[in-house]
Amino acid sequence: MITAAASLGIIAVLVAWPVPLILAASAWPSQSPGLALVLWQAIALSGGLSMIGSLLVYGLIPFGETLVQSLSSLGANLRAGTLPPGTSFTHVLALGGAIILSTHLLLNLSSTFVRAERERRRHYTLIALLSDPLRGQPGMRVIDYPAPVAYCLPGPGRSATVLSNGLIRLLDDDQVRAVISHEQAHLTQRHHLVLLAFKSWHSALPWFPIANRAENAVALLVEMLADDHARRVVDDHTLARAIALVGYALAGVTAPRNTEADAAANAATSASAGRLPASPGRIRAEPDHPAHQILPRVSRLMNPRAPLGYPATASVLTMSTLLLAGPALILFAT
């Protein structure tokens, strides 16, 4: 069992540190965002499984030879209020750590989901009172607000996509169709679930730098997936222009206490007739900054690259499977 605990510990360290760093630094996720999303989820699950598993297996060493045997022995010892001979303080500490960590992660996950659902319900009530349906399109609402805002509100049985008047004024019809398609991809692909899971991981382990990086990377991948959906409705340039126009107009709004939304929107409108230059030059962005999501999206639309080929796709999927199967097999074979 000590080998199992050690191997799980090694996997936990690898998955917590070098693996996500390599993934965050690589360029291919913008070519195949869906694939990268699978890999990030495998990394997160594998990390949790191996971290908790390693603590658990180590703490159970004095209780028996195999995992099943030691768990039943642990139950008997708990009922009797005894500890088997050879139990050291570190074993007890590891067991306690495994229990606390798993409880903490699960409680955090459920409270994140409950809070988000409550907030969505509150928001939906307000939207129902404050916005109007859009030209008979089900689930689309228009709210009277000058800044160009578009977002979707997922929820069981009552999802909504909300556009502001400002957005409809700023963009032409094709660009608005792109935005709608983008938001509807979020809803149909249930992006909020994966976003909330990574958000809860980050809030459960705020001191863990990889959790922050993972949350931001996943947020960007989800936007790219939604962009890819919109690219089926409009051409890349239209979508890129919509993103740039809204982003430029919002730059003055998202700053605290700034209500120059209209001025910014007007400035952007005055440019909306032209075309984006063919080459934007080198666009740099740090992937680990939550705000730095817009330029990578524009950049991949202006210089499109083909998705990963079959061999690369297969190897990413194999790696994801191994990340999950590795810790699981070690645990079950113990």
Binding site: A251, G252, P280, H292
Partner: protein
């Protein structure tokens, strides 16, 4: 939206457009006249109006004046103020409020705005940066 949601919306629209506080009976009468009597369905009972009003009061949309009988009702905030508050949640920095929804465009830094300005070929100065 269920039928109660539709009624909430209608009653809020009346209250937002009304310069004074209204009683439930006055509200029902307003709902019988254009532009609110959109559909030719059965006229509302005052009890239904009162039910919807107490729901709206619980949601802090409607304030009830209990000094005189019958009680009169008014909107707590204007429609625009509610909208501004909601959009502030959407665009603002409260992480809990943002976790609930997915925005087309998230936060944009001043440096990014400058890059976008170049891409778009806007000649004016970029929106205020801070």
């Amino acid at each position: 939206m269920g039928s109660l949601g539709v009624l909430e919306r209608l009653i809020m629209d009346v209250l937002w457009d009304s310069p004074t506080a209204l009683t439930a009976n006055e509200l029902r009468d307003c709902l019988l006249k254009p532009p609110f009597a959109a559909d030719k369905s059965k006229p509302l009972a005052t009890t239904t109006v009162l039910t919807v009003l107490s729901r709206l009061e619980a949601k802090k949309f409607v304030a009830r004046d209990r000094t005189l009988r019958p009680h009169s009702y008014s909107a707590v905030m204007s429609r625009a103020a509610h909208t501004a508050g909601l959009m502030h949640d959407v665009l603002g920095q409260v992480p809990d409020r943002q976790a609930a929804l997915a925005r087309f465009i998230g936060d944009v830094t001043p440096e990014e705005a400058e890059t976008l300005r170049r891409l778009l070929g806007v000649s004016t100065t970029p929106p205020r940066s801070s």
